[in-house]
């Protein structure tokens, strides 16, 4: 944010406070001065997984089983853990993550959210070891009426460089310094201290192998 006080029209009372002018016979020393200054913008952000009581998966309609959050999911932290899910079905994970932003940037900010990698399979390791994140894991703003079939937007796999497999975030220095425009999940037009909650949807195509899958979703906030 850059502010320029283009014409500080207020009168600068040089004469009144300056002895050298006090007794001078010159005309009144009054006028305008231009002062340029800038306030450096600051942006701070926090992300809280499983941010509200009642978090966890629903859905799997037709699979014959009822999903339940895995052991790694704890209120206010941990992992967005869908637990056991059935290939070929759709799930909604309520209250998956809450993003909070504090900024003095009067132009607002953009929050991006994207996967550090594709879905990494383990236990057992499938072949290939990864499955596309795109069109498998989706996000939508939390709402009481959300279902596993609510309109949602797919997460993208980043073009940046995942740090420590994504556990350390994503380095965007080699890709223009910011995430993909398509990965924007929230655009806010002004400064403030604001929060937004997100649900996740899992839509498992029949092609996904049976395995345990993991991915890190990285949120990046950039001031406008």
């Amino acid at each position: 944010m850059l502010r320029r006080l283009a014409a500080l029209g207020a009168t600068i009372l040089l004469a009144g406070g300056n002895p050298s002018f006090a007794g001078a016979a010159s005309p009144a020393a009054q006028g305008s001065a231009q002062v340029n200054y800038k306030i450096m913008p600051t942006v701070r952000a926090q992300v809280v997984p499983n941010y509200l009581s009642g978090f966890g998966p629903t859905g799997g309609l037709g699979s014959g089983s009822t999903p339940a959050a895995g052991a790694s999911a704890v209120l206010g932290g941990g992992t967005v853990d869908f637990g056991n899910v059935i290939v070929g079905y759709q799930y909604l994970y309520k209250y998956a993550a809450q993003v909070s932003v504090q900024t003095n940037d009067s132009a607002g900010f953009v929050v991006y959210g994207e996967g550090a990698t594709d879905l990494n399979g383990s236990n057992p390791i499938p072949a290939p070891a990864t499955f596309p994140l795109f069109q498998t894991l989706y996000w939508l703003v939390s709402g009481a009426g959300n279902t596993p079939f609510s309109p949602a937007t797919s997460f993208n796999r980043t073009n940046g460089n995942p740090i420590a497999g994504g556990a350390g975030g994503i380095d965007y220095s080699g890709v223009g310094g910011k995430p993909l425009p398509a990965s924007a999940v929230w655009t806010y037009p002004t400064s403030g201290n604001v929060s937004r909650g997100y649900d996740y949807e899992l839509r498992l195509s029949g092609a996904i192998p049976t395995s345990q899958f993991n991915v890190y979703i990285v949120y990046t906030v950039i001031g406008n």
Binding site: R4, A45, F149, L202, I208, S211, F213, V221, I222
Partner: protein, 250 residues
Amino acid sequence: MRRTNIFALLALAVLAALAVVSQADALQAQKAYKEMVVTIIVTPSPAPVGFLRPAAPAAAPAAAVAQFARLVADPFAGPAQIASSPSAWDVAPGVTVAQASAQPPPVPVQFVAKPDPNAAFIHIVPHTPTLYAPYGITTFTCVFEVYTFYTNTYNLTDWGYGTSKTSGSGSGTFPIENYSMVSYLSWAVPDFSPTFRPYNNAGPPGETTWSGAKGQAQQHCVDLTLNVPNSQPAGTYTATVQYNLYVTLP
């Protein structure tokens, strides 16, 4: 332990093992079903628009116009300017100022994908789960395929899910809509007929997609056409269709 007890226990163990192994060999009920979710992104262009010529703006007073022009020409004009920054820019044009950013710790996500016990009888192979649709009618080829098989005769039926005639949200929004409105999404199985039919949105019993003979495995493409009316705002929508496999139990 007496020998008869041992035999009884062995028999129970064999029965339990058979029950587990044979679970995938037959459906446990007359019906198995799958939901197919298609994401539809209605693109804003070429949205039909009307043009209304705006009214001419009120003319500004001549004095105000002149004063404004003077200010633009020289913002610091005045009888006694004492000090002024030599540059009108605090950052020269073309110089990029670093944007403030923050990246909190990432959110770990995990799940354990388990096999579908009914996949041997019905499953869906998605090809284009997201459709980008302009206004008007657009045809999408082989959006997904449906596979069916059973050891006896069967029927595959479908209906739109989440309408006032089914469970789910019941909202019946675009494109499936609520009965008695006609769905904006239509389907065809070109292996059988090129004719598109609007998706049934009246709930069960739905409409027959195809039938199968005893032991017949078949997999067919489903083409879709989507009609986006001019009144539909651009945005992201979903269409959820339930495919039901009804089998004749032996």
